[in-house]
Symmetry: C2
Subunit: 262 residues, 2 copies
Amino acid sequence: MAKTGGRAARSTAAPALGPLDFALDRGSPVPLYHQLAQQLEAAIERGVLAPGNLLGNEVDLSVRLGLSRPTVRQAIQSLVDKGLLVRRRGVGTQVVHSQVRRPLELSSLYDDLEAAGQGPATEVVRNELVPASCDVAAALGVPEGGEVTVLDRLRRTHGRPVALLRNYLPASLPAFDTTRLEATGLYRMLRSAGITLHSARQTVGARAATAQEASRLDEQQGAALLTMQRTAYDDTGSPVEYGTHIYRASLYTFDFQLLVRP
Amino acid sequence: MAKTGGRAARSTAAPALGPLDFALDRGSPVPLYHQLAQQLEAAIERGVLAPGNLLGNEVDLSVRLGLSRPTVRQAIQSLVDKGLLVRRRGVGTQVVHSQVRRPLELSSLYDDLEAAGQGPATEVVRNELVPASCDVAAALGVPEGGEVTVLDRLRRTHGRPVALLRNYLPASLPAFDTTRLEATGLYRMLRSAGITLHSARQTVGARAATAQEASRLDEQQGAALLTMQRTAYDDTGSPVEYGTHIYRASLYTFDFQLLVRP
DNA sequence: TAGTGGTCTAGACCACAAT
DNA sequence: TTGTGGTCTAGACCACTAA
């Protein structure tokens, strides 16, 4: 097939927006649109692409890169979805004005996913099978009184206790090795167990600390605590985890970025 | 290979997934992929599409609907992004297992956007120009001491105070009419002023109520409060609003769904 | 009017999963 | 081996924005 046949003709001495050099590898298993998106994002991050007009129209770009327009669009769209670019019909595609731009995954789900490995960050204080209470049964979709794994962890940063994490998991999952859990983190273990997270539902609130909670968290009784409940689901919609977390409000906040969908 | 070459042969009395009837209007200004997405979503919502295998392959679907495959894919992809569908290569596209499915916009930004109009939900208690303090100036990107609009509102539900909302806005915006603000809501007024929100950054925390806050919110001093700070940006990345909100933890929680991006 | 993104088409080959 | 989604192409016409 001569598909790529006429491509050699695209010589044209360095068009107006020459400074951008993208190296696309057609042999790579990573999709072209993804390669382009990554390199665009890197260019934006490095400030090579200033927050002004740019990315001269999609058609030119596709010709310059030797890609089809839909492919270029797909790359651009992924960055628009990330909030890095804005498209205006009849105007062009612009880099969004710097400011806060780190994508920032959501709240403590991210913590559980990434804040692992480094030192004795979280200590497992309980890891056993118990009968499911009413609310746990409802959240996990198991019969009330059926066995579930309960996991209590104490999380510290800089040596100070920050959070009490209680998680319930279906007993159908393989048992969790405590030491490995402390080194790896809950979500990474779920992942290596072949469970791919799909979505989660969270509720964030606040209340005063009980005497017991206060002593465990090194706070005064009645101190303000941040509370978070979460149910996480896998691809098929089956619940894989129900958690009730408590954070010291004096040391911890949830912060996240959100995009307004058109 | 004659792949679907025998396409005409695929007459087969009412194929397995016959019950779906989609009415696409090519004359409508609403894009075909969007029409299809809406009708698919409606079918899922109504339970016509059970959480199992379905949506027989994209190629057949496109033929049945008289659309090209990319168009069908675009429709499906939008529902995947919403968390309603899951695609598996070599398997097919499935409806995600019911459970929690309402998309649910994020936290109180949604409140501000939608919880408007109905009754005296929020009362404007302050609406004036003041010099920007350090943190306000930083958040809004204006010089310290420059004029900004400060807006204090008291929000009630069922007659009980729920939140104290303080917002700062650039003085460059047109003045906000207090009565209209109470009837319409802040974000709707911004929108009608031609400002399209793009993204926001939020921090959620907790602390004990001061005596003054307690009296305004009908709480005890020291009661747990939920706090939220937010900076919202428009398309161009310019800050359009900085808010410091306080909620009664006994009456209010943030709850939201989040999708795990692959 | 000219230029931009928005939508749509009709194909193609590939990678992966199930059989 | 078969069927699925994943990627990619090379065009086309339209709607909106700006000059």
